[in-house]
Symmetry: C2
Subunit: 213 residues, 2 copies
């Protein structure tokens, strides 16, 4: 697809493309070759129109009676979400959440990989975790530059978040995913995404509450 258009894909479409791919990979692994928009929709709990619209936006065309070719669609989503060289990320904070992330991500994607993990507690740096090399936080800048890491995932305690962010920015990171409840500040050229588990839980609680009133 046209690179110019690619930049203007809506945020929500990007998120869904990632999810489509995940579902498609699963179907592909099971030997399925084609899929209809309403099948994807069912899996993702959204409407078939939305699926077709997203796919239209990325410029792919299915066949009328067989739906979308799964392999082709996976490849195209890859061309949009991935880069040829691959993107490297690191986890900062080897606690439960950091470990969950590394463990969970292991071997899932080829073009996006977690190549290092950092912690300030020397006890947590003694050995590799799930094939991911671990380092002391003081080595962050050196390792980030040496390995060409462009994304940092923050899973430290909230108090440590600002300091860690600063270190990451200083090391030249391009994007940050902050799992701390403390919002952090980054310069404009760094893309920031924040997620807080408590907010999600409180949201669920709110809708549970209002539904039952």
């Amino acid at each position: 697809m046209d690179k110019n258009k690619m930049k203007h894909l809506p945020h929500k479409t990007i998120e869904r493309l990632s999810q489509y791919r995940r579902a498609l990979l699963l179907c592909h692994a099971q030997g399925q070759t084609h899929i209809f928009s309403h099948e994807i929709a069912k899996i993702q709990h959204i409407t078939a129109v939305q699926v077709r619209r997203d796919i239209m936006l990325i410029g792919y065309t299915g066949t009328l009676r067989k739906g979308y070719n799964i392999e082709e669609l996976i490849a195209l989503i890859g061309r949009i979400l991935d880069t040829d060289e691959g993107i490297k990320a690191c986890v900062v904070g080897i606690g439960n959440l950091g470990r969950a992330f590394i463990n969970y991500f292991k071997g899932k994607r080829t073009k996006l990989s977690i190549v290092a993990a950092f912690d300030n507690n020397p006890n947590k740096v003694v050995k590799n975790f799930c094939n991911t090399e671990t380092f002391h936080i003081d080595e962050l800048e050196r390792i980030v530059k040496q390995k060409g890491i462009s994304i940092g995932i923050i899973t430290v305690s909230p108090e440590a978040a600002p300091e860690v962010t600063e270190k990451l920015v200083k090391a030249g990171i391009k994007g940050i995913l902050n799992y701390t409840p403390k919002p952090v500040n980054v310069p404009a050229h760094v893309y920031l995404e924040e997620y807080d588990m408590i907010t999600s839980l409180e949201k669920v609680a709110f809708f549970v509450k209002t539904h039952s009133e």
Copy 2:
């Protein structure tokens, strides 16, 4: 505020209210008594207008030259997000992520609490974790009913997600927060929120990629 209006608060406003409260609690703990919309905005990386609009929607009014009374605002957000009796949640899957959630949530809120954790591995059920009682998954239905748990947080492996969901629904749960990459199906009366870490990371990667092209 009027209960009728409360139901119609936008989803995004609900999320932000949760975040405002968190920030406000912090300010309050530091002895601050009032806060301006632009101060809240700065913390949350949003605009002051949005803050004022959200606060308008919940029917609160600040004072013109001092801003918002932090205690009052915290109390009001509490009346919207919380219930008098409190809401109980449980974690299913005592792996790294489940532990992270429990540990992280501990003591943060009074009206929303994680009162149980389940796992199918007996080795993980031997003792309490962070003051949260742990049980074998077979006890789920009994415990959920006994304790009046209304929210389930799924942190098991993707393969186990559908089965766990079914158990939770069968036990009468009202809301589910699914951290598995596998979308699950629930009946209409159960509120479902799903979050996938890989999608977030791929989104960051995409914007890092497009920014640098």
